[in-house]
Symmetry: C2
Subunit: 340 residues, 2 copies
């Protein structure tokens, strides 16, 4: 099920830019899909897009209103429902990455059904998934992995896709979380899939493809994460990656939300992910590091990246500071070997 | 939610003993909970329990009718519904391990609700689960792991519990699959839990306990299984086992249902499970092997067990042929060290 584009990004009364980070991610990575933003009084986020009402958005060609801001708790503000009704009546679909499902709000679900409109609750997978088989599929795949959650895997995958496409490589971002799905227009929130079917859902997400096509798969969590390691392992097995990129934040003191749990050592984290990946792709290897060095000065960031490169003999980048070119060089080498 | 005992085991028109294997497992491991069996014309299974009708079962003190036989596909035979209605009306609860939910049959769900009776679809978890934390809990835990699915993990765990209790140790079987849940009267089908919550569900299943109490946790699949490895990893992380028992079937030619996939080498399988388990319990170790040697002659079985013992320096048993005493010896040593 694809989400129809272009989008109107609904920011609600986002208290600060962070509350609108889903919308900001879409605007950053798919500006061509974002015709406007809609802000309510008190909104403190601004994506620099044209402010539009629903009628104006419809006239401009918008197909879907995206709820791109959240209250604490991931709930929908009840005051927004009349606006969403208005959007459906104007002929727009709705999409949301919130925990609370739009489809569970009877006024929206009933109206959408009667109008033939779609309501996409992207955090909640629909449809059925096969059981994974682990059989090797044609095509190439790169998966972002990491030392923790929320450490730059989606950003890294999107930066890889952009650079690969700029070089003329065939690359498709494959989304495994709600923001990624809204960016890509399709995908599956793997952490919300029943555990038996996660590997199979990922196999379906990045199916057999041309020998020179790359699936650039968004990662989740870490196989060394005590809460979500099982999600990650199924994602690693199902995506059967040829290449892994290790994402890391060098100043994070402990795993997010787990103050008793330090981040794993990078060497252990590489070994664990490579071992896991080789079950379904014996050629899997970590090809480099993608760091979020935003907490470091330019000098310190360069020093950290250089140290990693020397220690592991692999390229280390910050997608924002340095770009991901050296990682894509590695992928080009893998592609050349695979096609040789 | 506990399933009330004792049980009447409903075998339906099971085509052969294998079709009634759920009921057979309950009768084998919890004979004290099984007052009778109920068989329909054409049933080719017989557990050796008294044959009873519903009124007779009720008079004998039965609290729950257990649907312990399946058609192909895990569906309920429609012809059984009137009998299940009769059971509810007689005051019995219902429990089923089938894929198809009894609670989805309106005639049953409505009647049960109006009568205040419980309908347990044990393959389908209910309630909410926490996110796992990986924090160490008091108490001791042993987890059955293995080289494949359906390779004796439940049987091994139940045999361990029985032997441990016979020695006066404090041991509680913790069920993670549908047959195990019907045997134990409670538990959680981890493969049907949303992937984000599997580790947390397992943490809840074997919570903090007395320092000398053992949770004997039923395993599922294998971290080296390409379809279900994620389920297993979450189970390993959540159960934070002090001891692992490696289950294996020495004649199986390939993973069940995956003819392209040989079973992993035992040394690799030990290393993978120990590495996984040490994330949440640094003392985790494989303490021995539990083999299903039913396909081997007595001589060959003894030879295979002896070879394993010599190769790995760990005890190797077949629960059915040799008992699990040597494995429990290992657990007693771990307990002595832990309490020292």
């Amino acid at each position: 099920m694809r989400i129809e584009t272009p989008y109107l990004l609904f920011l609600g009364d986002a208290a600060d830019p962070l509350a609108a980070k889903t919308a900001a991610g879409i605007a950053q990575w798919r500006p061509e899909n974002c015709l406007g933003q809609m802000r309510l009084p008190g909104c403190n986020a601004d994506l620099g897009l044209p402010d539009m009402g629903i009628a104006e958005a419809r006239a401009a060609g918008v197909r879907t209103l995206v709820v791109g801001a959240a209250n604490r708790g991931g709930n929908l503000n009840e005051a927004w429902v009349p606006l969403l009704i208005q959007a459906l009546e104007a002929g727009l679909d709705l999409a949301s990455g919130l925990h609370q499902k739009l489809a569970d709000i009877p006024a929206l679900a009933g109206l959408a059904a009667s109008l033939g409109r779609q309501v996409h609750d992207v955090r909640h997978p629909t449809g059925t998934f096969p059981i994974g088989t682990g059989e090797k599929r044609p095509g190439l795949r790169v998966l972002a992995v990491g030392t923790d959650c929320s450490i730059g895997k989606m950003y890294t995958a999107l930066a890889l896709e952009r650079e690969m496409q700029a070089r003329g490589m065939r690359a498709t971002f494959r989304a495994t979380g709600q923001t990624g799905i809204l960016i890509a227009g399709s995908g599956v929130s793997v952490d919300a899939v029943v555990s038996d079917f996660v590997a199979g859902a990922v196999e379906q997400l990045c199916p057999a493809n041309a020998p020179n096509h790359w699936d650039v798969v968004e990662g989740q969590a870490s196989v060394l994460h005590p809460s979500y390691g099982g999600v990650t392992l199924a994602l690693v097995h199902g995506s059967q990656p040829d290449a892994l990129v290790m994402c890391h934040e060098p100043t994070r003191p402990h795993m997010r939300g787990l103050p008793h749990r330090p981040l794993p050592h990078l060497a252990d984290c590489i070994a664990a992910h490579e071992a896991a990946a080789r079950l379904t792709n014996p050629r899997a290897k970590v090809v480099g590091f993608s760091l979020n060095t935003s907490a470091l000065s330019e000098d310190n960031a360069q020093r950290v990246l250089l140290e990693l490169e020397e220690r592991f003999g692999l390229p280390a980048v910050d997608p924002l500071r340095t770009g991901v070119g050296p990682l894509v060089d590695q992928l080009e080498e893998i592609e050349a070997h695979a096609l040789a």
